[in-house]
């Protein structure tokens, strides 16, 4: 079994750094562009996220989450924190306003996804239309509640309620699927 990149980095294998940048650079950059108020901010943020990644590489546990998920968790945390600290909101324009015109975000092909993320993709298909829409606008497009409310015609409080309901549904669905998978493995 291959040793995860982050484990190698935590063990001082600097050779894994380039591989890590190659593998996750696009993911972090994609998130930074969506969750930053300018391109310059996004560039700063990407560097900060990778610094966080080097510092927290030893905290990665493969049995809890896949590597891409861990990277995305760290990146989102840093990006949201930056937005808050700078006192800016994405009220004006996200960098990629054009993306808002897409009916839905482009989805990474299932064959490229790690198993746990593929599970999440399957669960996403089972969400109600309004739940998926609100999650797309907040997670993918990085819009604040007010803009989601304007975009969807929903009341401000309803936006958060729907987002929460959608995430909880996903959590339950993913847990059920993981449980099933564990049982299948045990049977085999």
């Amino acid at each position: 079994m291959q040793v995860p990149l982050l484990t190698r980095i935590a063990n001082g294998d600097t050779g894994a750094v380039d591989e890590c940048i190659d593998r996750y650079g696009g993911l972090v950059w994609s998130l930074a562009r969506r969750l930053s108020s300018s391109l310059a901010d996004a560039e700063d943020a990407v560097q900060e996220v990778f610094v966080d990644l080097w510092k927290n590489a030893d905290r990665y546990r493969g049995e809890i989450a896949g590597e891409p998920t861990f990277v995305a968790m760290l990146a989102r945390r840093r990006l949201i924190d930056r937005l808050r600290k700078s006192g800016r909101q994405l009220e004006s324009r996200p960098i990629d306003e054009l993306a808002l015109q897409h009916a839905a975000p482009l989805q990474t092909s299932p064959v490229e996804l790690a198993e746990e993320v593929a599970q999440a993709a399957a669960c996403l298909e089972r969400l109600r239309k309004d739940e998926r829409k609100v999650l797309e606008l907040s997670i993918y497009h990085g819009l604040p509640q007010t803009r989601i409310a304007n975009q969807t015609g929903l009341a401000l409080g309803t936006v958060k309620t729907i987002a929460r309901r959608g995430l909880l549904q996903l959590r339950v669905c993913m847990q059920v699927r993981n449980q099933r998978r564990s049982n299948e493995v045990e049977v085999v």
């Binding site: 980095i9 600097t14 750094v17 940048i21 650079g25 696009g26 993911l27 950059w29 994609s30 998130l31 562009r33 300018s38 310059a40 901010d41 560039e43 700063d44 990407v46 560097q47 900060e48 990778f50 610094v51 966080d52 080097w54 510092k55 927290n56 905290r59 809890i64 989450a65 891409p68 998920t69 995305a72 968790m73 990146a75 989102r76 945390r77 840093r78 949201i80 808050r84 700078s86 006192g87 482009l106 989805q107 990474t108 490229e112 790690a114 746990e116 993320v117 999440a120 999650l135 907040s138 997670i139 604040p144 958060k160 987002a163 929460r164 995430l167 909880l168 996903l170 959590r171 993913m174």
Partner: protein, 264 residues
């Protein structure tokens, strides 16, 4: 806290969603930490993982390639970070709880240790800046001797000048390090205000210069201070010193800007 629906569980879920999607205010952060302390470790990051999975699904990694100059910058930062001793993570402490700290019996020890660490950290941070310590001066001299991609600029008065302050700044693009030299810059009281350096570079917009570190002046004699750039600096063209609240700021209002150094 159980998963059964009750006001506290509802609030915990609500505040997690807010944290993950929109960010928390300071008050909400305090509340989040309070609620998180009652959640089993294995449940703490479940929603984080759900959101992160969606991030991965929707990240169009094939078309969103990382720009080459950023790749280079990240590589340089990695070599600096991984060569250095482990440092305290910048990640939100609320989110990687240590199991060992959850037992109440360890709390007094933990708090005492934290207080001690804080006292040592504060003392180290607020120690008087030594007047041209040989090692710093020597390192500056070595940097000048190496003369690799070196830029040098003299301090000149900024919009809110400090009478009689002079000196210069040297920066090596290839080594990503440099030093500031001051004479006659007023002594500051670290508990009230600190100086902060900003580096204007080609890879940054003017509105978001690179944080070059917070520092104190304890003597009006000549002082040499190492630059602590928080990001990769590409073609530095100007340096500015501002006066900020203790600990510095992420974005400066530039209301108090005593010194500027433009690279000719």
């Amino acid at each position: 806290m159980s998963r059964h629906s009750n006001p506290e569980t509802n609030r915990w879920e609500e505040i997690q969603v807010t944290r993950l999607l929109f960010g928390l205010t300071e008050e909400e952060k305090t509340e989040y930490d309070r609620l998180a302390s009652r959640i089993p470790v294995e449940e703490l990051e479940q929603l984080d993982q759900v959101v992160a999975s969606l991030d991965v699904i929707w990240a169009d990694m094939q078309t969103e390639q990382l720009p080459e100059h950023l790749r280079r910058a990240i590589r340089i930062r990695a070599s600096q970070e991984l060569a250095a001793k482990p440092v305290v993570s910048l990640a939100n402490p609320s989110t990687f709880p240590a199991k060992a700290l959850r037992g109440k019996k360890y709390l007094p020890w933990f708090v005492s240790a934290l207080c001690l660490m804080f006292a040592v950290f504060t003392w180290i941070n607020n120690r008087p800046a030594e007047i041209v310590r040989p090692d710093v001066a020597q390192r500056r001299a070595e940097l000048l001797t190496a003369n690799q991609g070196l830029v040098q600029a003299r301090w000149s008065p900024g919009p809110t000048p400090s009478e009689g302050a002079t000196g210069d700044v040297v920066w090596s693009a290839s080594q990503q390090q440099g030093f500031m030299r001051f004479r006659g810059l007023p002594v500051n009281t670290p508990s009230q205000e600190q100086y902060q350096l900003w580096i204007f570079a080609r890879n940054q917009s003017d509105t978001t210069p690179i944080d070059g570190g917070v520092f104190d002046i304890t003597s009006t004699e000549e002082v040499v201070i190492p630059i602590n750039a928080k990001l990769y600096v590409q073609d530095a063209y100007m340096f500015a010193v501002t006066i900020e609240k203790p600990g510095g700021v992420v974005v400066s209002s530039r209301e108090r800007l005593p010194l500027l150094a433009k690279v000719e």
